[in-house]
Symmetry: C2
Subunit: 316 residues, 2 copies
């Protein structure tokens, strides 16, 4: 039936686009080359759009094909999420929930979701691991944690399913007595390069090249957010921080926000929940992710103020 666009068709389209070859797409998907050729032709007929230009040996995506490729990836991703959710349900409640959290994730959202989780799943132990950068993805990929809460990774990984939670505002700050804070009217790249940039890092390979914009040749790398925070307060350098984390410092004048003349006005990092595609969360993990989304939605901008919630933690 012509209306019966299938996930398989879209998957063949995506594979052909990525390999730039129908034969290679067939090998990747364990299908005959003619299956790919006919599936793409059918899809083009159903959509009324030419997706590939066939003029040489290898097919090339048309402009329209390039635009629709992103849509196809969205559809397959959303169907993969549906299947992942179904799989989680089919496998029953998990014995415990382990979550790795990026240190930049707003604690106010996390604490609310965790408090709700404790009430809703009183017998399911919750384990929270706070990691930096690639440490979160590593924990999920190595199945130490079922769910990771992290920013986007440069590698386009098909092993992980991600669900967007919220953007985190990043502000560039320094201590008020820092030289950069004395400059009127905003600081330039040249100004920044003269001073030490405090950069958060970790020890995994996954975040190589992923450290926040390193704008100064003089940079100190710190593997602990608390340490970076302390260095900033001590006036030892400048750097980018999640707004929520330094909102109180900004309000009390312990830190000041630097106005960067050569950078976009607003910098933010999208935070997502991620899990392995072949090990989707069970009902408890599913519920927790939805709770994070719920509280993230209620938090339009990172709100200042320190919020305390008793975590439903337990050890084996």
């Amino acid at each position: 039936m012509l209306e019966g666009v299938t996930l398989d068709q879209l998957r063949m389209f995506i594979a052909a686009a990525e390999t730039q070859s129908f034969s290679a797409a067939g090998r990747r998907l364990h299908r005959a080359q003619s299956v790919i050729s006919q599936a793409i032709a059918n899809l083009e007929c159903q959509l009324g759009v030419t997706l590939f230009r066939r003029e040489g040996r290898y097919p090339e995506l048309t402009e329209q094909g390039k635009l629709l490729l992103a849509d196809a990836q969205t559809v397959t991703a959303s169907l993969a999420a549906l299947k992942a959710r179904a799989k989680g349900m089919a496998e029953g409640l998990e014995p415990e929930l382990s979550v790795a959290i990026d240190v930049m994730f707003p604690m106010s959202v996390l604490t609310r979701a965790a408090a709700d989780f404790g009430e809703h799943f009183p017998v399911t132990p919750l384990r929270l691991y706070v990691e930096a950068l690639g440490g979160v993805a590593k924990a999920v990929l190595e199945q130490q944690c079922g769910i990771g809460i992290m920013g986007s990774l440069p590698l386009s990984s098909t092993a992980l399913v991600t669900e967007r939670l919220l953007p985190v505002r990043i502000v560039f700050v320094a201590a008020p007595r820092h030289s950069l804070a004395q400059i009127q009217g905003g600081v330039t790249c040249e100004d920044l390069a003269q001073h030490v940039q405090l950069v958060l890092t970790d020890r995994t390979d996954l975040s190589k090249g992923r450290e926040f914009s390193v704008m100064s040749p003089r940079s100190w790398r710190l593997a602990d957010m608390g340490a970076k925070h302390a260095f900033l307060l001590a006036g030892l350098g400048w750097g980018g921080m999640p707004l929520e984390m330094v909102a109180r410092d900004l309000r009390e004048g312990a830190l000041v926000e630097l106005k960067l003349l050569d950078a976009p006005e607003r910098v933010q990092m999208a935070m997502s929940a991620a899990y392995r595609a072949d090990a989707p969360p069970g009902p408890a993990g599913r519920w927790f992710v939805e709770q994070l989304k719920h509280h993230a939605g209620a938090l339009e901008a990172p709100e200042p103020g320190y919020i305390t919630a008793k975590l439903a933690l337990s050890d084996t």
Copy 2:
């Protein structure tokens, strides 16, 4: 093939869930009842989850079925968006672009997108109609405008495809000399009910029951946002307004925000781009919607201040 979940299957699932009947779903989709029955059974087998409980005459969604229904709707919506985009491409560039805009949509986003549109499509005339509430949907449904920018409608319409743009912050305000503004510590429902609530409305049937929360039996309905704004400034009542629109009044003390004790802290309305499923936008409209998304993304919170941009308007 078991992996071959199709849009048709999901559409049958959705139709069965909405009608609560396999027979009715078959009638709606012009299919035999047995086709629906087998398709649902196949889908349940593929997902490993029971979607319907069959104990009486009519099937009932299970809890898992209810959760997965939303996912199925997401998948079909994203595939519908893909098809709509493809259809727009197949039909070539449109001669002009008519857009109906909800009055609550932030002008700063609209003006930036319109300015960019004028540069990118210099020969395509742009027509902008500012409407309230149901007026936008009506213009799109009756094909007076190809695209509508509006808040969500209560009716779940399959005739319209929607793409989310941004949330609009709503604040409850009154003039500083209004009695409500004198109350210390926040106002209660009882307080509100004592005073006139100014409510934006329009003349279509589509927004019946859709007016913003009417919390006072004493309410004045105004079909023009400018008039409502003026009434608020004049101290004639209280009401909800988009934050961006009254940010300057709040800053200058012409209006004050009311702290409602019995309402959620943050009220916002999701604004979306909408178009008829059977008349998707062409490349120009497609581009404009993406531009709105782009500028909406750059606007994390409705920003105060009046921004001027010369609209690329032209008349026939």
